[in-house]
Symmetry: C2
Subunit: 448 residues, 2 copies
């Protein structure tokens, strides 16, 4: 692209010699090469070639206060000087667990871990231990981390997803044992009738039904209240657990996305924002279920440890971040995001493009179709649509200097103000005008 | 124990209301309650009640330089001010991968993650993806993290371990699906004949054979050279991979414990010390295998991401720690540990107790039996032995103010000096004398 090699290009060439594909996380890959960060502050992020962008991705939704928030930096430095991890307990793990339990009705006990992947894995293992049943049920297309049971059908496609009345269990990783696929039951999100029918056919085997209340990869569409209630009722009748993956969605409300519903999950997996910018995962829920992890009276039914679990740096950063993300902060952030949605919808109207927006709380996702998708199969993107979406993201990134999640999703932070929202909607307007023909050209295909 | 309630007791009472069993990691639990850390520096760790202990556990072997090493603190603070995690790449991930690849012959490519558990899970998934085979083989009693396939038979006992010629696959967590147990083949560590015979019976299904070269829970006994070579040869002939879990043992040599052998593993799981005190995991190995994670040309065979994987704080701390742990530092640390072993052996002789020591590099483990165990079944502790071991650990912890890993294992750090080694061996001498009768009383039982 450029004749003079950029600093990022040079680093990437070295990276290709030591990292597979030159990258360390699939989500940071960008063609022809990723850019490398020099520093970041609040909602601004500057790369090694001196380009500053506004950050609407916030490390995949994990930085609720943006970068290097002074209160978090200060608290972490204080702890850092006293050590980062011990083979002993620290008070801050109790304080942080108290904060979370006070905040969410369904949280009676908490166990901390190192990632959302670990939290979902622990949630599934605990569900099996508690119910004595081997299978799990999950929504087609939903992302729940990289535990192989949890990732089944995450990237199902028209070639392999099968009949909607009984979706196939599709391997996400090559070589996933057939025995793993057989333990996972797939249902179409927000489709009550089909979901209940599928659950009924597996009633005696299901340890839990996993629900992300606003599943990003399914389309960032809210689980309808009637749907969540129906699954809750089903689990009560069938000795199964309703478990939520709120790794991403905990930001949606003061008490997580679960406070949108009159029913509560038995267990909840957490991650992302509760780490205050540091690696974190957590499992929270009913005391009687969590009790199976208690090691005080001999080997527990579900033994669980982890070298860095509940390390005081993550606990300190997470506690500080979540204290700052109080009721008022949640309300303000969600209002600002609503404002952004309105302004982008205005841009859609002015540019006259068939584009729609989904989301909840401080999250929004752009879809290149006139009507917002309601299911994974509706949200599914053909190769052609993916190409146009990449052009849109590249336009925003290279021309407008805006960093979004690679699904064209914004995950807001409290560091964003009306000024950045205006820049965002103006940029979208220019992008929509620029790419109008491309966006229109893929509509026929989308309708199929 | 005390009439006046300690600060730790008070915190623990609060913890019991929000954490299962009042603890956040099984390894930090201590009866009647854990103590809570106030601060730590080098090899000294002080609790909230003002008691300072010498730390020979180093957060379960993860702190190679002890607590709050000035160079690590300084480097982390500098990064902290620039942000802790981004949806973009950072140069330090490449620098750190270069350092690791330069250090170990078998490391051609590296992928970073958040924990040893994640690293082992990724190693198993990648082995399946590369070979197209579903099963794994692992040693009875070996700890490889909490991924359910990896934890099978980790705590097998005489009641369930079965015939040594064909050990049972024993669930570690209640409710582990039978389908998981069926995918895991168990062999007795360091027993060439039986291991090869068991591998042969599963030759067409085995994606990999997992070896920890000095498995802590098996007895902290080195894998014999002949044994490792035999398994290596077997995997060459049977389209299977030899994969090492060096999460704990990477500290043993400058190039990990694997440099003890003439053959190299295809893949290695890392964690602990390479994080410099922060949550970390990594998978390293052959470029052709790691290439299956490359996302540059469409969806890879093994898609892998992770919100906090390769975050620049962990990379900075890990890079700094590993640079400091150079060849000279490794040699000095291992020499000091050898010195400690000699001095404790002297104490054993003086106290005239049937006690033995195993270990390698900067690790040592005490066994309450005259001859060091060579296998998991020999190292297995009855309830009575566990009770005496707990008395020994409590003596060292409460009376001598020494913190060890709860298997009576020391994981040395470079912060430890001859002074602390002398305190350690003197304390062991007093402990052995105090507990001599108890230690002798369990010998008959051990011999069974």
């Amino acid at each position: 692209m450029q004749t003079v090699e950029s600093k990022s290009e040079k680093i990437f060439q070295r990276a290709c010699e030591v990292l597979p594909g030159g990258i360390s996380r699939n989500t940071v890959f960008r063609d022809p090469h990723p850019d490398y960060v020099q520093s970041a502050s609040g909602c601004y992020i500057t790369d090694v070639d001196g380009i500053t962008r506004i950050d609407f991705a916030n490390n995949m939704a994990s930085l609720i206060h943006g970068h290097a928030h002074p209160a978090i930096v200060e608290a972490v430095i204080e702890q850092l000087k006293k050590g980062t991890a011990y083979t002993m307990a620290t008070e801050i793990e109790t304080q942080f667990a108290e904060l979370l339990c006070n905040r969410v009705k369904s949280f009676e006990r908490v166990r901390f871990m190192n990632s959302g992947t670990e939290a979902v894995m622990a949630m599934i293992k605990l569900s099996r231990a508690f119910t004595g049943k081997p299978k799990i049920a999950k929504a087609e297309g939903a992302y729940h981390g990289t535990y192989d049971f949890a990732e089944v059908s995450q990237t199902a496609s028209p070639e392999n997803w099968g009949d909607i009345d009984s979706p196939n269990s599709v391997a996400n990783t090559k070589g996933t044992p057939k025995s793993v696929l057989d333990e996972v039951v797939i249902f179409p999100y927000n489709d009550i009738e089909r979901t209940l029918s599928i659950l009924n056919r597996n009633a005696d085997k299901l340890a839990c039904v996993i629900i992300d209340p606003v599943p990003h990869r399914v389309g960032l569409v809210k689980g309808e209240q009637e749907y969540i209630e129906a699954i809750y009722d089903w689990t009560r009748k069938n000795n199964s657990l309703l478990v939520f993956d709120e790794v991403v969605t905990f930001r949606v409300g003061y008490g997580g996305a679960q406070e949108m519903y009159p029913v509560s999950p038995d267990l909840t997996a957490l991650g992302k924002i509760i780490g205050g910018g540091f690696p974190v995962g957590a499992l929270a829920g009913r005391a009687d279920i969590m009790e199976m992890m208690n090691p005080r009276f001999g080997k527990p039914a579900f033994p669980h440890s982890g070298t860095f679990s509940a390390n005081p740096i993550t606990m300190t950063a997470g506690y500080t971040a979540m204290k700052l993300f109080d009721k008022e902060a949640v309300t303000n952030l969600n209002s600002l995001t609503q404002k952004a949605i309105q302004q982008i919808q205005e841009a859609i109207k002015i540019a006259d493009v068939p584009v729609s927006i989904t989301g909840a709380g401080s999250m929004l996702r752009i879809h290149l179709k006139a009507n917002p998708p309601k299911t994974y199969r509706e949200a599914y993107q053909s190769k052609e649509t993916q190409k146009v979406l990449k052009n849109l993201l590249d336009y925003l990134y290279y021309k407008e200097h805006l960093l979004l999640v690679n699904t064209c999703t914004c995950m807001f932070s409290t560091a964003i103000t009306q000024k950045e929202v205006d820049i965002l909607s103006d940029a979208f307007l220019r992008a929509f005008k620029e790419l109008r023909e491309q966006i229109i050209s893929i509509q026929k295909e989308v309708a199929v």
